[in-house]
């Protein structure tokens, strides 16, 4: 055990049991998985991505490149979880990944022996040839070797949700700068949201030993949080990572509501996605401790100096029985001395500088820590670290240590400042990139802005929090910032120890200093090319800790300096985000809304089989005992054609148009004329897009002089409404027309078949529905079922005598039941969308497959409907020569020469004997059905010069499904071509 005997923000009175790779360990509340593993002496936690090198814990935060584990088991198994951010809970199960058969002995670690050939660009250079090898050999090989953890293979049993939050000031990070910013803004009355990715608020202050306002940093945190908690206008959000900054002051954040529990509490989500809309924001995300690149720097036990200190001070853990530090700056030296004061056995501090501040030397001596100036670590030893070699001007010597804390200085965490295109700028004084152009409304405070001392952080936070509140419209004056006891920070820029041996720049993607040098030699010198060529910074950690050293080494090689070399930028998300939380509530049956028709419950009772059409759930057919779908559909079609059938057609879009210009308006949006339509009549209309192609079709009825009601196809209801609003508001604002969607208001039921009139006559309240009283294409407003408002349209999609009866939606089910009762005598048969489709194909009516967005009215045989006496949307472009080309595939019908053969939609037409080439393509089949009326398969399609070729034979060639059927070109009107049945 390496738990220190006292100290740390852990609850030692309680013990949490957990397992790692099946072995049992114990930790305490307040631990992370990483701190608990270290407390149990577990230093080897994973294998690297490419070389499968043994790796240990490097950081104490979300920037962790190495310690990725699988968490939980079964359906809740979650790969690639950073052990440094996992809050320990009782019975937690974690597993190492990227190793086989075990973490300790990993077969693929043999890759290390091949490291000389697995360098940067290896994949580009190797898996090039022969091309045929790619799919069969290379890709499976790479896929097996690559990847880190395994995703769960069962559905995630947990729930996720999304929520939106509005605030005046969003503060990101709860360290010294974040807390003071939140306090300053909160005190003005501004709505403040403080997001902290850690489960405990306080950031670096949780391991800070300097004083604030004469008290401990810990006390300052306690008081600040108590004050913020007391403000009704402040919201504290621990376990919440702001992962992206977006336009207009929107931020994305993930709250890990239940990740610290074995499973979520009842009715609680696992995670919650927040969209935060902030008038102003303060980025106080701190800084990362920067690694130094030196041979053997990836050995388990080598970690960030600040992490080494944090494990000792915050978690009461010694990361090794004996430790040393390798530093370039006073901040890290102070931190590791704090750790030594907390009980860590710190043998030595190796600092690259010729001298460090005398006060620090004095303190080190008092703690029994040797200070080695002008020192560099040139080698490490052990599977897990057992010794390091120190090189000084006096020579080299070995230090026997199990942990080495490394700090090359601070890299401001400016990730979010880049999300809207901001480019970091180099600040030579601190040898770091700081935020450049910030997203509008954002200010960067404290270490994130390169203001690295505690004093600067609290001053920044206080000032920027106040300014943010002021900018959001709150009045406040700047209060004095808290006083801090920290000393000025000294540092030197140092990146890379020049000594032999593999020295890692990016530990997660196994990029070494040699790879950077190779990229330089091969000309990939721009930072963007360096990144892609070596994969530096392209792992799941996005190179938070590694990018800087990589580009510093490149800058050294090119001799250009870092400012000129520049840096790559960051994109969202800051840390990986689970797809589940992005989906939220919308999964499974809730993936999208399900829209039932008004008669859904009735259809369920009838045993309907339903089909999703867009969002709608419609009855597809109504099988009887022993029937398959084909038998059911055949029966429904025959029953309708010979007797009477009924179907709910409420899903059509319905639009109410009122106003004196309604007729004129319709003339401009349809190719045919509606201003001359008499009151009480309906007409089929075709609508084009301005490019001349068909947008939609449907019938529109005139109910009164200035009152029409339009129907659209189910699929295009919203699109047509938007189009009509565009025409009215943008194209012709002078027209006096009012639109209202009535799609939800009216249920509409079609009754079709030779007996339809008899059924209808039993429902109407005395309305004359005779052929004279309500002729074909007539429309009447009346009542049915004893006083229920209704609109009856004599329309036919099936080709039979037909009526569509519309009643207020809540009466829809009652109407259906009344129709069924009225029709019982005639054997009325409910039919679904399948039979509807068969009957419209038999009649040669176009539908979705023909209204494909690639067909003109002329292509569909509807060209003669177009008025030549007026302008309408799409008229000019429909007259383009290409659209008038007689060779354009045009709408006709098809039947198999051998009537027993089945046709398939999608088959392409070829002249008999023509080779199946694109040049010989003459069009394609759009819709097919088995016609129970004719007893064979029939099809509709678009054929070059189709109407001129009636009677000709062509091939319907379908190479995808192996179809090759000889078909005869025929009229698309298979049944009742003269349309007599619908007019009786």
């Amino acid at each position: 055990m390496t738990r220190l005997s006292a100290g740390g923000l852990i609850d030692r009175s309680r013990t949490l049991a957990f397992t790692f790779d099946g072995k049992s360990y114990a930790g305490h509340p307040g631990d992370t998985l990483a701190s608990a593993l270290l407390a149990n002496g577990v230093r080897l936690v994973g294998r690297s991505f490419k070389y499968h090198r043994p790796r240990g814990i490097v950081t104490a935060g979300s920037e962790e490149p190495n310690a990725l584990v699988e968490l939980r088991t079964g359906a809740r198994r979650e790969p690639n979880t950073r052990a440094t951010t996992v809050e320990l809970f009782d019975a937690l199960e974690a597993t190492s990944q990227n190793r086989w058969p075990s973490l300790d002995f990993d077969v693929l670690s043999l890759n290390r022996l091949a490291a000389p050939v697995l360098g940067a660009g290896f994949y580009y250079k190797t898996f090039m040839w022969p091309a045929a090898f790619w799919e069969k050999v290379y890709e499976p090989l790479i896929r097996r070797a690559a990847g880190l953890g395994r995703a769960a293979d069962a559905p995630d049993p947990d729930a996720y949700e999304k929520a939106t939050l509005f605030c005046d000031v969003l503060v990101i990070g709860s360290g010294a700068a974040g807390l003071t910013a939140a306090l300053a803004a909160g005190r003005t009355g501004a709505r403040v949201v403080l997001c902290e990715e850690d489960f405990r608020l306080g950031g670096r202050l949780l391991s800070e030993k300097a004083e604030i306002d004469g008290g401990s940093a810990a006390d300052f945190v306690t008081h600040a949080l108590a004050e913020l908690a007391s403000l009704p206008n402040a919201r504290l959000m621990p376990r919440t990572t702001v992962f992206g900054a977006y336009d207009g002051g929107e931020f994305g954040a993930v709250e890990k509501v239940s990740d610290h529990l074995a499973e979520p509490a009842p009715f609680q989500p696992r995670q919650r996605l927040w969209r935060i809309v902030a008038k102003r924001s303060v980025l106080a995300a701190g800084a990362f401790d920067r690694p130094i690149v030196f041979p053997g720097n990836d050995r388990p036990g080598v970690m960030s100096a600040l992490a080494l200190a944090t494990y000792a001070t915050r978690y009461g853990v010694a990361a090794g029985a004996r430790a040393a530090a390798f530093t370039t700056n006073d901040h890290a030296v102070t931190a590791v001395l704090d750790a030594a004061a907390a009980g860590l056995h710190l043998a030595a501090i190796v600092d690259v500088r010729p001298a460090i501040a005398p006060a620090l030397v004095t303190r080190a001596q008092a703690l029994g820590v040797e200070v080695i100036p002008e020192g560099e670590i040139v080698a490490t030893a052990g599977k897990c670290l057992s010794a390091v070699t120190v090189r000084t001007p006096m020579g080299t010597r070995a230090l026997s240590v199990e942990a080495l804390g490394v700090s090359g200085g601070a890299t401001p965490n400016l990730n979010l400042t880049c999300h809207l295109g901001g480019r970091p700028v180099w600040r030579e004084e601190i040898a770091a990139f700081v935020p450049g152009t910030l997203p509008p409304g954002m200010a960067a405070a404290g270490a994130a802005a390169g203001h690295l001392t505690l004093g600067e952080c609290v001053a920044d936070g206080t000032a920027l929090g106040t300014e943010a509140a002021q900018a959001a419209g709150f009045s406040a004056s700047l209060a004095p910032a808290p006083k801090t006891s920290d000393a000025p920070d000294g540092r030197t820029a140092f990146w890379h120890v020049k000594a032999p041996g593999p020295a890692f720049v990016d530990q997660q993607n196994d990029v070494t200093a040699k790879d950077v040098a190779l990229a330089h030699r091969e000309g990939f010198r721009a930072v963007e090319l360096l990144k892609r060529y070596t994969t530096l910074g392209m792992a799941t950690d996005q190179g938070k800790t590694s990018n800087m050293a990589g580009l510093a080494i490149m800058a050294e090689l090119t001799g250009k300096g870092i400012a000129e070399t520049g840096t790559t930028v960051f994109r969202p998300p800051y840390t990986p985000v689970a797809l589940g939380v992005l989906a939220g509530h919308h999964r499974g049956v809730d993936f999208k809304p399900t829209r039932p028709t008004p008669t859904h419950a009735w259809a369920e009772e009838q045993g309907a089989v339903f089909v999703e059409t867009g969002l709608w759930l419609r009855a597809a057919w109504f099988p009887r005992a022993g029937e398959d779908w084909q038998a059911a559909v055949n029966r429904e079609v025959k029953a309708t054609r010979e007797g009477v059938g009924v179907i709910d057609v409420s899903t059509f879009g319905k639009i109410d148009l009122q106003g004196p210009d309604a007729g004129l308006f319709l003339d401009r949006v349809y190719i045919n004329t509606f201003s001359t339509l008499p009151v009480g009549k309906a007409r089929y209309g075709v609508m084009l897009r301005e490019d001349g192609l068909v947008m939609d079709d449907g019938t529109t009825a005139r109910l009164a002089d200035g009152h029409y009601v339009m129907t659209t196809t189910t699929a295009n209801a919203a699109k047509v409404f938007q189009h009509l609003e565009f025409c009215l508001q943008v194209l012709w604002p002078e027209l006096d027309v009012c639109l209202a969607s009535v799609s939800e208001q009216w249920a509409q039921i079609a009754v079709s078949g030779p007996r339809a009139r008899e059924v209808l006559s039993k429902l109407v309240d005395g309305t004359d529905v005779s052929n004279a009283g309500l002729p074909f294409m007539g429309a009447v407003e009346t009542t049915v079922m004893g006083g229920v408002e209704a609109r009856i349209f004599r329309l036919s999609f099936s080709g039979e005598l037909g009526y569509e009866i519309a009643v207020p939606a809540r009466k829809g089910e009652a109407l259906m039941r009344a129709i069924m009762e009225a029709g019982a005598l005639y054997g009325i048969t409910p039919y679904g969308t399948e039979a509807l489709g068969v009957m419209r194909i038999e009649k040669g009516h176009v539908s979705g497959s023909e209204l494909s967005g690639q067909t003109s009215a002329r292509d569909l045989g509807l060209g003669r409907m177009a008025s030549t006496k007026k302008d309408y949307i799409g008229r000019v472009m429909a007259g383009r020569p290409a659209f008038l080309d007689p060779d354009r595939p045009t709408f006709v019908g098809f039947r198999p020469v051998d009537r027993t053969q089945r046709l398939r939609a999608g088959a392409h037409f070829l002249a008999p004997g023509a080779e199946a080439t694109t040049e010989n393509d003459e069009g394609y089949m759009t819709s097919v059905a088995f016609s129970p009326t004719l007893g064979h398969s029939i099809g509709l399609g678009l054929l070059k010069r189709g109407p001129e070729r009636i009677g000709e034979k062509v091939r319907a060639y379908d190479p995808v499904r192996g179809g090759d059927v000889e078909v005869e070109v025929c009229s698309p009107h298979f049944v009742d071509p003269e349309g007599e049945k619908q007019r009786v």
Binding site: Y246, D247, G248, G249, E250, R275, V277, L420, G421, P440, E690, D691, A718, F721, Q722, E725, F726, L728, Q729, V730, L731, P733, E734, D871, R875, V876, M877, G879, R880
Partner: protein, 89 residues
């Protein structure tokens, strides 16, 4: 991105449908050059890097077509107005 609808207030851009450049106006269909002018109207658009007027439809809100002045480089929106002028309301 957020768009401040003159009627509904600031809303997420998810509520709006985008059409594109607001500048082209429907040519005279009876004009002698109608085939050419309509071709330009339907197909030809400048790819503007900078401030432009765009048409957006507040599909999930007040169902108004809006003319939005937006900098395509920064997504900064400086003005939003109803495409149909108030006089017509």
């Amino acid at each position: 991105m957020r768009i401040t609808c003159p009627y509904c207030g600031a809303r997420s851009s998810h509520e709006f449908a985008y059409l594109g450049d607001a500048a082209p106006s429907r040519p005279d269909p009876a004009g002698p050059e109608a085939p050419e002018t309509f071709h330009v109207y339907v197909y030809e658009r400048d790819n503007i890097a900078g401030v432009m007027d765009e048409l957006w439809y507040h599909a999930a809100g007040c169902r108004r077509w809006l003319t939005v002045t937006r900098d395509t480089r920064t997504h900064a929106i400086t003005a939003v107005r109803f495409s149909r002028t108030e006089a017509a309301e």
